[in-house]
């Protein structure tokens, strides 16, 4: 009998072409709060999905020992039956059902004839809500309560399943300070009741507040496990980023000219909840030939900033000024933004970037049909020629430009997206996660394209959650945290440590 409630031994998990986890070991002591830290994409969520049975036994190698017994989960229900409950970042609640209905979803409190016993349901739910300190009527609908309270409902739901090991994936990412504090207190409170928790987070101050032990994961490997007394911010940051910067980036000699784009005091609110500030007074500028990075953790407001700027495609109550060549411009609609020389290539190609039913040619032409048409009729042959030119120059691997984009690999799809925006002939390109989901070789090609654009005198803004990438290609990097620009560093002064410090800087309170 050990004191460990959970031991994950030599877990290795591969996806086609990628080793997501390699020989990861994790020991969690009973009755403690164990934090897991790591950069975006380090493998934290994958590890938790292995643990909770989302990736069933047999799709990974290594052993999971839970309560001194090797377990083989086939799905999430198996793990829940043992008392392991995971609460994902995106909450899994049904908005139109009540709190009580959500708590007992698929675990209904049945009475006579197998019908639902509503009195029992609501009574039990009220008891669980009291345990998590949520003062709401169990019959209130989920959509009527805020995200913070929804998080507590998820925990109440976990408690209803007799949870022994609670896993919280970035639980405070979407919460305000008050709700975050309440949640962290609750985790400590549950610890006193004997519930072990794993909390995934990269907010260092909250880790220091609740965690007894911290394990750092990087590039799918366990780096080290640190006891609370030894935890320092510097040590965790060093563990998180301490990788070698290889020659994965093409050489880039900046030739920086005059200012192209300047954004002043840009503010945007959440589209559904206009009281939540998502982009807070952001001011940035980009000069001709310059590659500017925007670094920020998940939920820092990177995409929200870019999309609200690009034709108010995100958010509500948007304010701020935009200047191009020192002259104020408006970007209220996407076509206005395009006309004024801005292009935005989305982080989510499949949902926001491409028409996967259509061919390469039509996707490339879509944002520039004005140029390709006269009297409202599109010149198909001209479009073919243009698209074919990009196929060659961008090295898009497809038999011809009449191939459907849905059949291309991620890297080639990304090249189609880039071609489309380059053909729209913008002055400034905003590239949101330009290399997400792309293999290493294609990444290099994308970096070379970015360099070529800068060499032509375009301004390029690169949004990325991979710090090495930003450090490898940018001339200057802004750090974004909680919707605010917390600083900017010229590339000479930027390093992972200095950036992470800015990226995790919280609002003064």
């Amino acid at each position: 009998m050990t004191t460990n409630i959970l031991e994950m031994r030599s877990i290795t998990k591969t996806f086609p072409g990628v080793k997501a986890l390699s020989d990861v070991t994790l020991d969690v002591e009973r009755g403690t709060v164990h934090a897991i830290c790591g950069e975006n994409g380090a493998g934290k969520s994958t590890l938790m999905k292995v643990l909770s049975g989302v990736y069933p036994h047999g799709t990974y190698t290594g052993d999971i020992v839970f309560e001194d017994e090797v377990v083989e989960f086939k799905d999430i229900r198996d793990s829940e039956a043992k008392g392991i409950v995971i609460i994902h970042q995106e909450l899994a609640l049904s908005p139109h059902l009540s709190i009580a209905e959500n708590i007992f979803l698929n675990n209904e409190q049945k009475g006579a004839f197998g019908l639902i016993d509503w009195n029992k349901t609501n009574h039990e739910a009220a008891a669980l809500l009291a345990r998590v300190g949520l003062k709401e009527n169990p019959t209130t609908k989920i959509l009527q309560i805020g995200v913070g309270k929804q998080q507590l409902v998820e925990i109440a739901k976990a408690l209803s399943k007799r949870v022994k090991l609670l896993i919280l994936d970035e639980p405070t990412a979407a919460l305000n300070d008050e709700d975050s504090d309440h949640l962290l207190d609750l985790i400590l409170h549950l610890k006193e009741q004997g519930i072990t928790s794993i909390i995934i987070s990269h907010k260092l101050n909250e880790i220091k507040k609740v965690a007894d032990t911290v394990t750092v994961i990087r590039d799918g490997k366990t780096i080290e496990t640190i006891q609370k007394t030894d935890v320092t911010e510097e040590r965790i940051i060093k563990d998180m980023v301490g990788r070698d910067l290889e020659h994965r980036y093409p050489d880039h000699t900046p030739n920086i000219g005059d200012e192209l784009l300047r954004v002043e005091d840009w503010t945007a609110h959440h589209p559904q909840d206009p009281t939540r500030v998502m982009v807070d007074d952001v001011s940035i500028n980009v000069r001709a030939g310059e590659i500017v990075g925007i670094a920020g953790l998940m939920g820092a407001g990177r995409t929200e900033f870019a999309m609200s700027l690009f034709g108010h495609s995100y958010g509500s109550r948007i304010s701020g000024k935009v200047f191009m060549h020192g002259k104020e411009i408006k970007t209220r609609t996407v076509s206005e933004a395009i006309k004024n020389g801005i292009a935005y290539a989305t982080e989510d190609r499949k949902h926001y970037g491409l028409n996967l039913l259509e061919d390469i040619k039509r996707n490339i032409g879509l944002a520039s049909l004005d140029k390709l048409s006269s009297n409202g009729l599109v010149n198909d042959n001209e479009e073919y020629k243009i698209a074919n030119g990009y196929r060659t120059s961008m090295n898009i691997k497809a038999p011809n430009v009449l191939a459907k984009t849905g059949k291309l690999s991620g890297g080639n799809q990304q090249k189609v997206v880039l071609s489309k925006w380059i053909y729209s002939d913008p002055e400034v390109l905003i590239l949101d996660e330009p290399t997400r989901g792309i293999d290493v070789g294609a990444k290099y090609e994308i970096y070379a394209i970015i360099n070529a654009l800068a060499a032509q005198g375009k301004g390029v803004i690169v949004i990325s959650s991979e710090l090495p990438e930003l450090l490898g290609i940018c001339d200057r990097i802004y750090a974004l945290s909680e919707g605010r620009i917390t600083g900017q560093l010229p590339i000479e002064e930027a390093n992972p440590e200095s950036l992470l410090k800015l990226m995790t800087m919280e609002k003064p309170r």
Partner: protein
């Protein structure tokens, strides 16, 4: 290349000498197969026609019946054109039958009750169709209510209004010019002959225009370095089409000539074919149906496009209502019953995708013709309306199932 290397190149050239024949044949075959795939719907029509001409002992292909096929299905084909555009954009329109009835009733009031000139009555009726389309387009595009709901409401609203306009009575006896829209023929301009020369001339002009157009498209593509199909296959296709048009024209010419409905249809197919294939607007419709978010982020005004699509549908529904009323010479309360379902079926049988983004005008027309031939063939066989309904339903289900199966197969990569 230096001289010392020339033997090597010669060798490879000689080695490759065997392959071109094989390559030519395989590329020929692959073109044939890919065209068969693309024209599967056309082959389906051919199969249905062959089947019914055999089981009806050739009655199906008699000149009078061919002419009837066009005139009887004209209004469905007009609706199918608008419907497939709506479906490509990812919407649906359930109201077209009611709108056709409503506009037919209005045209009765204009042309018969008020005694307005026939052309004014037609223009005003089309205008009412446009207004109906604006009404529905407003709710769908700018308020954001799903088209299913808006047009379901429209189905009830305009059926009701048609009854209000008619005042529980039929309106009949339309002017002759108005009636021509539904059952007029363009013929006998050269006197009453056995074989109408005008029909044959028009067909000849159509064939020449088609060939010239196809050759020019082919040449332009070749000039821009695009792959073109082998010349043999290209010529064979043109010959086949010429034979089909010739047969069709001969049939019409030996009956009463060119139906006015066919002229209207031909003009519509030409215009809308160009709109959907070559115009910026058409591109926007496909882009919106394929991925609305991506279209929005490419600067496309999705709301305006949706709005215009429904205005267009309103006008075409009005035109269908006019043709139907003209054909019956009667504006009645039951007009247009079930038209929406036939038009929607035509679009889906013609290869439109339920999720939007895919479909063609030509496909919808052929889909409509398949339904028309099924109706006509089963009527000739004396099958009751109950069996006709059931068979048409089954055909629709199988057509969409085939589409879904195809997509799963190609998407399962």
């Amino acid at each position: 290349m230096s001289n010392t290397q020339s033997p090597v190149t010669e060798e490879t050239a000689a080695g490759g000498g065997i392959h071109p024949v094989e390559n030519k044949f395989t590329s020929w075959l692959s073109h044939l197969l890919s065209d068969l795939g693309k024209n599967g719907i056309f082959l389906a029509l051919l199969a249905v026609v062959l089947f019914f001409s055999v089981v009806t002992d050739g009655i199906l292909l008699r000149p009078q019946n061919i002419s009837n096929l066009i005139v009887q299905n004209g209004y469905i084909l007009v609706l199918a054109i608008g419907m497939v555009m709506i479906i490509i954009a990812g919407h649906i329109d359930l109201s077209v039958g009611s709108v056709a009835a409503f506009v037919g009733a209005c045209s009765g009031v204009f042309a018969v009750s008020w005694g307005l000139p026939w052309w004014l009555a037609i223009i005003m009726s089309l205008g009412i169709g446009a207004l109906v389309g604006m009404w529905q387009g407003f709710w769908i595009a700018y308020v954001g209510i799903p088209a299913f709901i808006v047009t379901l409401a429209g189905m009830l609203i305009f059926r009701g209004l048609a009854l209000v306009v008619l005042g529980n009575a039929n309106i009949g006896s339309f002017p002759a010019e108005y009636r021509a829209l539904g059952n007029g023929f363009l013929s006998n301009v050269f006197g009453d002959l056995d074989l109408d020369p005008l029909t044959l001339i028009v067909a000849a002009v159509a064939v020449v225009a088609l060939i010239v157009g196809q050759v020019r498209t082919r040449n332009a593509r070749a000039k821009y370095g695009q792959e073109v199909e082998p010349i043999v296959w290209f010529v064979a296709k043109l010959v086949l089409i010429t034979i089909a048009i010739g047969f069709f024209a001969y049939a019409l010419a030996s009956y009463k000539g060119i139906p006015v409905t066919l002229i209207v249809l031909a003009v519509l197919v030409l215009i809308y074919g160009i709109i959907m294939n070559r115009s910026v607007f058409g591109r926007h419709v496909y882009a919106i149906g394929g991925n609305r978010h991506a279209a929005e982020l490419s600067g496309i005004k999705t709301r305006k496009t949706d709005f215009l699509l429904f205005v267009n549908m309103g006008v075409l529904a009005a035109l269908a209502g006019l043709i139907f009323t003209a054909r019956l010479n009667l504006a009645g309360p039951k007009a247009g019953d079930g038209f929406e379902l036939e038009a929607i079926s035509a679009a889906f049988i013609g290869g439109a995708a339920v999720q939007g983004g895919v479909g063609t005008i030509g496909g919808a027309i052929i889909g409509g013709l398949i339904i028309g031939v099924l109706n006509n063939g089963m009527s000739i066989l004396g099958l009751g309306i109950e069996w006709q309904q059931a068979v048409k339903g089954l055909v629709l289900l199988l057509a969409v199932a085939f589409d879904v199966y195809n997509k799963r197969r190609s998407g399962g990569k």
